[in-house]
């Protein structure tokens, strides 16, 4: 619900309640005042008649507005509401009647003075109409005024919101939000502007840091690798040195790979991969599988491939490459001789299944996505492959599931687009 609608609702509720109470009170009050007035007039008439009768001994002829009737039979004395027939319109109408006793010609006579309440009915209607009219126009006016105010006063807020929606730290932009007439919005805009400046600075620094760190570690690695290679070329290298150098060389290779994976992870987390282009997944998979042919054959894996053409997805080519590579490498590396590798691509998901080492029952699937967790402790891989897969999945909103079927020790990783 919009803020305006919400406040309006409360305003209208309160106004409606107050108006109802006010109207009822006013209605009852006016009604009571009118009756009082009618009764007072009846009492005045009684007073007049009584005095006249005392003075002259008979009823004066003065016609009163309203009706007067005489009765020799006893009538209940006092005020009451009656309905009398209006001869002209031939219908019953409400009257207020005052009955009292007057001694006329030696005998008590019951005099009833009646005064029409029709006027009060009219007044009542008028009041109701007025009240409803005023209430309606007031409430309506409030809504219209609020609308108009909202458009005028909230316009800077809407502008701020619009800018925020388009804000993307990767574009290194700083928000430029102007000051407004409304102090709160000005404060909000200033806070947001300075925040976006801080964020942009932090982002740039972080990015620079990653780049510098990458640069600073790459160069020593390159030196180590180059020196080791030179060492290997020495003509009179003692035979005992060869395996030592070879191990060192392998270690630098592992370090290099670890470094590449970590850099990639931090880049994904910094969202440094913006550019996207339409990628056809089945082509990427086909190409990768072709590249990996030797490795699949070396382990004599049974390859089952089913690739349904999928509409091109807007992705970053390097990330797709990394995603597919990691999944396939994972499935090959952790497979056993003569095992199964099944690659299934449908319109909604990519499923890669491989046979592999049996899992201890207590292992949780979620743990596989943790950094540096390995399926197989003896393996050379740093265990970052699935973390990378997961980060890429998060970036593109893909769901990644891991399933394990204990009977055949089948590991399945599913990427749901």
């Amino acid at each position: 619900m919009k803020l305006l609608a919400a406040t309006n609702r409360y305003y209208l509720l309160l106004a409606g309640l107050l108006f109802t109470i006010g109207s009822v009170l006013l209605y009852v009050g006016v009604l009571w005042a009118l009756r009082e007035e009618v009764e007072e007039r009846l009492f005045q008439q009684r007073e007049y008649l009584t005095r006249a009768v005392q003075r002259t001994g008979k009823l004066p002829n003065t016609p009163f507005e309203g009706r007067t009737s005489l009765s020799a039979t006893p009538q209940p004395v006092g005020l009451r509401d009656v309905l009398l027939l209006e001869p002209l319109e031939n219908e019953l109408e409400p009257y207020r009647q005052l009955t009292f006793v007057l001694p006329l010609e030696g005998r008590p006579q019951w005099v009833s003075l009646s005064k029409s309440l029709l006027e009060t009915k009219d007044v009542r209607r008028l009041i109701l109409q007025l009240l409803l009219g005023v209430l309606g126009s007031l409430l309506g006016g409030m809504v219209v005024l609020n609308r108009w105010l909202a458009r005028r006063l909230w316009a800077p807020f809407e502008r701020t919101l619009h800018q925020l929606q388009g804000y993307d730290v990767r574009h290194h932009q700083v928000l430029h939000l102007p000051d407004t007439r409304i102090e709160e919005f000005t404060q909000l805009n200033r806070a947001l502007t300075s925040m976006s400046q801080r964020v942009a600075n932090d982002y740039t620094m972080l990015k620079e840091f990653t780049e510098n760190a990458a640069h600073e570690t790459r160069t020593p690695l390159a030196i180590m690798q180059a020196k080791l290679e030179q060492l290997l070329q020495l003509p009179d290298l003692p035979p005992a040195a060869a395996p030592l150098i070879s191990d060192l060389y392998t270690a630098t290779q592992r370090l290099t790979r670890l470094h590449q994976s970590l850099t990639l992870l931090s880049k994904i987390e910094n969202r440094q991969f913006i550019a996207a282009e339409p990628i056809r997944l089945e082509e990427v998979l086909r190409e990768k599988l072709h590249q990996l042919e030797d490795f699949i054959q070396a382990k004599r894996l049974r390859l089952e491939v089913s690739l349904t053409p999928v509409p091109a997805l807007p992705l970053h080519p390097a990330l797709v490459d990394s995603l597919v590579s990691n999944l396939l490498h994972n499935a090959i590396r952790h497979n056993h001789e003569g095992g199964l590798l099944r690659v299934l691509l449908t319109a909604t998901e990519l499923e890669i299944t491989n046979t592999g080492p049996a899992l201890p029952a207590k292992e949780q699937p979620a743990q596989f996505f943790e950094r540096f967790r390995k399926h197989n402790m003896a393996s050379d891989s740093p265990g970052l492959g699935l973390s990378i897969v997961q980060r890429i999945g998060e970036l593109y909103g893909f769901d990644i599931h891991y399933a394990y079927a204990p009977e055949q020790a089948l590991h399945t990783l599913r990427v749901v687009f």
Binding site: R218, A222, E229, Q233, Y249, R257, L292, A298, R333
Partner: protein, 225 residues
């Protein structure tokens, strides 16, 4: 063959120079942007090995200078940055190849060779080794004048070995050269052996000598002895 190495890290610079000198190149060194700029303005090189991150400037500007002077030198960019954008930018500016740090020296020299071959001989150059003749741009291998049918991988392997006669090539560098990133899917490099075995067999069937030696624990070497 004259090569200019632009690299600010002294130890890496000397390693590169030593390795390439052994390959028979004439090497000149530049430790920073200013030196490199002076040298490329004064002299002609067959190839420039260019590090992008220099203490006093961006290597990409040197590349721009070379292109602006329409220098015939090939350019192999060596950078610690491996972002795709950097690669694309480097290649768009006219670099011949791009290698991210860290790299194998043998890989670097193989790529250097390929660049020089492409630049200087318009592809009409062949590689000779004993009874072997290879025409890299036709992808043709001859043993004593007889063509040998090799698979793509076998051919790549042979070319890599031919680029480094007498050098020990590690299995890691061979795997990365021939299989690229896919190499890290393997937990052993035994598959290289399979391909080498096939390659040896095919060459020997045509009457070539067995020049591929296994260096225990390290890798392979192409050698006449």
């Amino acid at each position: 063959m004259k090569i200019l190495i632009v690299e600010d890290e002294p130890t890496l610079r000397t390693s590169l120079a030593d390795y390439l000198r052994q390959d028979g190149y004439v090497i000149e060194l530049a430790a920073n942007y200013a030196q490199a700029h002076e040298k490329i303005k004064l002299y002609q090189y067959d190839c420039v090995l260019l590090d992008l991150t220099l203490p006093d400037g961006n290597g990409l500007n040197l590349l721009r200078t070379l292109k602006a002077d329409s220098s015939p030198a090939g350019v192999l960019v060596v950078s610690a940055r491996d972002a795709l954008d950097d690669k694309v930018l480097g290649l768009e500016l006219g670099a011949d190849d791009y290698l991210a740090k860290p790299f194998h020296l043998s890989e670097l020299s193989a790529r250097l060779r390929a660049i020089i071959r492409r630049r200087n001989f318009q592809g009409n150059r062949h590689i000779l080794f004993q009874e072997l003749t290879v025409f890299p741009d036709q992808g043709q291998v001859l043993v004593k004048g007889e063509p040998v049918a090799l698979t793509r991988k076998e051919y790549d392997l042979l070319l890599y070995l031919l680029a480094h006669p007498g050098r020990v090539l590690t299995k890691e560098s061979i795997a990365e050269h021939v299989w690229g990133d896919a190499a890290d899917a393997a937990d052993s490099f035994d598959f290289i052996y399979t391909h080498l075995k096939n390659l040896r067999k095919k060459l020997q069937e045509k009457g070539a000598g067995d020049y591929i030696r296994t260096i225990y624990g390290m890798g392979y070497k192409l050698s006449v002895e």
